[in-house]
């Protein structure tokens, strides 16, 4: 800047001159401020934007308490998002909640993600969601821990899912006849320990079976094998059995909300995969009984139609073929058929047949089974109702071959299932028969019978105790003594001596003959004897006379006193025999026999009564019959006691006679019979005591 002296008289005029500079050089530092502010604002904006997360839509049936801008979305109780908008679906049927979800969790929001509204809830198992009373509801989400393809639209659940997708465990399916005892979230017990929970029971497509999904938590899910059996552990069960009254109560929660339990009754099962299907049994006993039965995944369904009532038949009732269980009743439904004039109600029973049990291959198709059944039906195979057992009212279905059955065909194309022809059951009259039998049993005079047996035994004892019987052996002893005296007598003693002497003489004679060396003579004698023989032969006419002489000689020999001895001995034994043969003695076993015969007759009569059924009247009769039997049998020990006493006494008596005599043997055998009779009576009594019903069934 230089001063230009244009007017020297004037004071120096201030040069006010804006220097011409490039605009950027003219820039002030202060421009950094807006730049900085812009940068900061942009940074804040960018952060907000990048933190904003993604917008997802969750569709609920209703969204009670959900408010835009206030309701949070949580995962494991940590807020991960916020509801931005609550609107409706296009048809106004559903509520669409738009929520902004944190970016970090977005990759996990795949198809496994589930959302529900958390509200305060009070259940039998506790109180949940209490915090929402103050803070308002929130939306809780859950998903598995594997990132997937993120979705932006989800169907919200009405309630918290029972099984969290991130939980580890195994999900299996139970097949049950009814789902009434199981609620969603019911506990699953293993040996009384809660190891899982159930989902809400659902019907299968046919509507005949209830399917319950069960989730067993890890690591308890390794307890599940193919040998595992599930049963309903709901509430309590009362059973009356041989071991008395039995009351089983599960946990209180199970009492209220139901529950299932499982156990593995035998080892060696294979580990199961996700989704394995188990049968749900009614209780532990049934489950145990079915421990070895395979739940077949392959069953074929056929149907049959019964005319008339099928009360007592239920889903799950057994289906028998030739005495072997091949399946079970799947469902029962009634339908009306017939023409306009006469309508009839028929019961259609659908049957599940396990081809494996029928002897076919495990994966046989319906056609295979039908191919098997068709010729059988042609030759008379029919479905028939029968009693499951004699006392209970439950029914089973059996496939039986009826001879001369009315011709019928297996209707393969019948709807909804192939139809097996049926025949009417003949069990209707069983009830009446049984009642009659029971009445007869009830009217039996068993007490009288026992009384009679006791008095018989008493008279036996009396007889055995009688003086006569005691004297009889004495007479025998006397006889034997006399006989011994006789034998000991001189004549008899001398007899052998005489014999010996005679023999001696004979021996001497022979020796003499040998000494005299007359063999040659003998030869000549033999020769002459030959001649003599010839003579004799010629003179055979005289021979009989000779024989007569010999016989006379023998007669004489027989006339010896020995003869008398033997006779008297025989007489002795005869009289002993006669003693035993006396009416009194003989009557003893007879009357016993008769008594037993009577009893046996009675029993066989009872047995012939045959079949039984379950009417209350019949049972009442049976009970009173049993009671009278019991009263009667109370007397039986006395009887047995007496028989034993008698036995001992008789045995003592017999020992006194010495052994080996015929009398002894016969008496012994007689007494053995008596004892056997007594034993069989005792055995009968015991058998009756143990199982009075054997009287009914003839077993």
């Amino acid at each position: 800047m230089t001063e230009t002296p244009n007017r020297d008289s004037q004071p120096a005029e201030m040069q006010v001159q804006q220097p011409k500079r490039a605009p950027w050089r003219n820039l002030s530092v202060v421009w950094l401020i807006p730049v900085l502010a812009l940068a900061v604002s942009l940074a804040v904006a960018w952060r907000t934007f990048s933190d904003r997360g993604a917008l997802v839509e969750i569709v609920f049936q209703n969204a009670a308490g959900v408010t835009a801008g206030e309701t949070g979305v949580r995962y494991r109780d940590v807020v991960i998002g916020m509801v931005e908008k609550v609107g409706f679906s296009d048809d106004l049927l559903k509520v669409v909640v738009s929520a902004r979800i944190d970016k970090t969790v977005m990759p996990f929001l795949d198809e496994s993600a589930q959302f529900w509204v958390v509200q305060p809830k009070v259940t039998a198992e506790g109180v949940s969601g209490l915090s929402t009373v103050l803070s308002g509801v929130y939306i809780e989400g859950t998903w598995d821990t594997k990132p997937g393809t993120p979705q932006t639209r989800f169907d919200g659940l009405d309630e918290q899912p029972l099984v969290d997708p991130s939980d580890k465990g195994t999900r299996v399916t139970l097949r049950a006849g009814s789902g009434e005892a199981i609620a969603g979230g019911s506990p699953v017990f293993y040996r009384g320990v809660r190891v899982g929970r159930t989902e809400t029971p659902k019907l299968d497509e046919t509507g005949a079976v209830v399917l319950v999904e069960v989730f067993v938590d890890s690591p308890h899910d390794r307890l599940l094998t193919s040998a595992t059996r599930f049963w309903n552990a709901s509430g309590f069960s009362v059973s009356l059995g041989a071991d008395g009254l039995r009351l089983d109560v599960g946990s209180l929660a199970a009492l209220v909300s139901g529950g299932v339990a499982f156990n593995t009754f035998f080892s060696g099962g294979k580990p199961v995969e996700e989704g394995h299907i188990y049968e749900l049994y009614a209780d532990e006993t049934v489950a145990r009984e079915n421990a070895f039965s395979e739940v077949s995944s392959n069953t074929v369904t056929v149907a049959t139609v019964f005319v008339g009532g099928v009360s007592g038949l239920a889903a799950g009732s057994s289906l028998f073929y030739k005495g072997v269980k091949i399946g079970e009743v799947h469902g029962i439904s009634a339908f009306v058929s017939g023409d306009d004039d006469r309508m009839e109600v028929h019961q259609q029973v659908t049957l599940n047949i396990d081809p494996k049990l029928l002897g076919l291959s495990g994966n046989a198709s319906l056609d295979d089974v039908l191919d098997f059944l068709t010729p059988a039906v042609d030759s008379g195979l029919r479905a028939r109702l029968n009693k499951a057992n004699l006392l209970s009212g439950s029914l089973i279905v059996e496939l039986v071959e009826i001879e001369n059955a009315k011709p019928a065909k297996l209707e393969r194309d019948a709807e909804p299932y192939p139809l097996i022809p049926s025949v009417e059951s003949d069990m209707q009259d069983v009830n009446a028969t049984l009642e009659g039998v029971m009445k007869r049993v009830n009217s039996l005079k068993i007490e009288d019978l026992i009384q009679q047996a006791i008095s018989t035994m008493a008279s036996i004892e009396e007889f055995a105790n009688s003086d006569q019987l005691r004297e009889a052996p004495k007479a025998v002893v006397d006889l034997v003594d006399q006989a011994r005296d006789l034998i000991a007598g001189e004549n008899v003693q001398a007899l052998p001596e005489l014999l010996r002497e005679t023999i001696e003489e004979l021996r001497d004679t022979i020796a003499q003959i040998r000494q005299d060396g007359v063999v040659a003579r003998v030869v000549s004698v033999l020769e002459s004897a030959d001649k003599v023989a010839a003579n004799v032969a010629s003179a055979s006419g005289e021979f009989p006379a000779l024989v007569d002489d010999v016989r006379a000689l023998a007669e004489k020999a027989r006339d010896l006193p020995l003869h008398e001895l033997v006779d008297s001995a025989t007489e002795l034994l005869d009289s002993a025999d006669a003693l035993i043969d006396t009416d009194a003695a003989r009557a003893l076993p007879d009357s016993l026999n008769a008594a037993l015969d009577e009893l046996r007759d009675l029993l066989s009569e009872l047995r012939e009564g045959g079949a039984a059924a379950n009417t209350n009247a019949a049972l009442a009769s049976a009970r009173s019959a049993t009671e009278s039997l019991q009263r009667a049998t109370a007397n039986l020990p006395e009887l047995t006691q007496r028989l034993d006493e008698l036995m001992v006494r008789a045995e003592g008596l017999v020992t006194a006679y010495g052994d080996r005599s015929d009398f002894n043997a016969e008496t012994l055998s007689m007494l053995r019979e008596v004892r056997a009779a007594a034993r069989s009576i005792t055995a009968l009594t015991r058998a009756l005591e143990r199982s009075p019903n054997s009287l009914l069934f003839g077993k």
Binding site: M14, S28, W31, P34, A37, L38, L134, S135
Partner: protein, 221 residues
């Protein structure tokens, strides 16, 4: 703060046509205390402030601060000013949202005050400063020099009152801290709003009001 006019106004005719300025008299007026000096003086003899006949960068600074204030004002309105947590329930309200809420509660007076302090005044300030700077920069508005001077004074005076909102937030968030029952936290908007107000005040202060008269002078010559 300074509010006095730097120029002597001997004749206050409404057109403001003739005003003797320091520059016209060949002198330099101190912007701090108003004393006039000879041009060769670089520092005020009274207050030791730096002397310059006209601040060449004044307009630049005005525009820069103005822009910064405007930028800061955008998030101040978009983001929540207050985050109120009551019973575990958090509500965040922006300035306008708060006003709407107050109207909903029929607190029209308070709503008016808040609206005036937080919306009307800042926006009016932006407009006023922009108008002043614009008129000086492009030498428009030969008329109403005095009115513009008044406007400038008002802007400078009233600008600080915009801070009332920030005060409220500051006081509330330090007083209302009852944990779960109720607590108030400042939001991002509180910071940006405070900076916006500060920036506009700086902008107003950067404005060399003498230039208003220069325009008049220029028209004159």
């Amino acid at each position: 703060m300074m509010s006095a006019t730097q120029t002597a106004a001997p004749d206050r005719d409404d057109g403001g046509a003739r005003v003797q300025t320091a520059r016209a008299a060949g002198l330099v007026a101190c912007t701090g205390c108003g004393r006039v000096h000879r041009p060769d003086q670089t520092r005020c003899l009274r207050c030791n402030a730096r002397l310059s006949s006209r601040d060449a960068t004044s307009l630049q600074r005005v525009w820069a601060w103005w822009l910064a204030g405007l930028i800061a004002y955008i998030p101040a309105n978009l983001y929540p000013m207050l985050r109120t947590t009551t019973m575990g329930h958090e509500t965040a309200s922006t300035i306008v949202g708060g006003v709407v809420e107050l109207i909903d509660y029929h607190s029209y007076g308070v709503a008016l005050i808040v609206f005036g302090a937080s919306v009307v005044i800042p926006i009016a300030k932006f407009i006023a400063i922009a108008y002043l700077a614009y008129s000086v920069q492009f030498r428009r508005g030969k008329k109403g020099v005095l009115a513009r001077q008044h406007l400038y004074e008002v802007v400078e005076f009233i600008g600080r009152w915009s801070m009332i909102d920030v005060f409220v937030v500051a006081i509330l968030s330090s007083l209302v801290q009852f944990n779960f029952v109720a607590s108030i936290h400042p939001g991002i908007a509180a910071v940006s709003f405070a900076s916006s107000v500060a920036f506009t005040m700086l902008s107003a202060q950067s404005f060399d009001s003498r230039m208003i008269w220069d325009a008049n002078e220029a028209v004159e010559t």
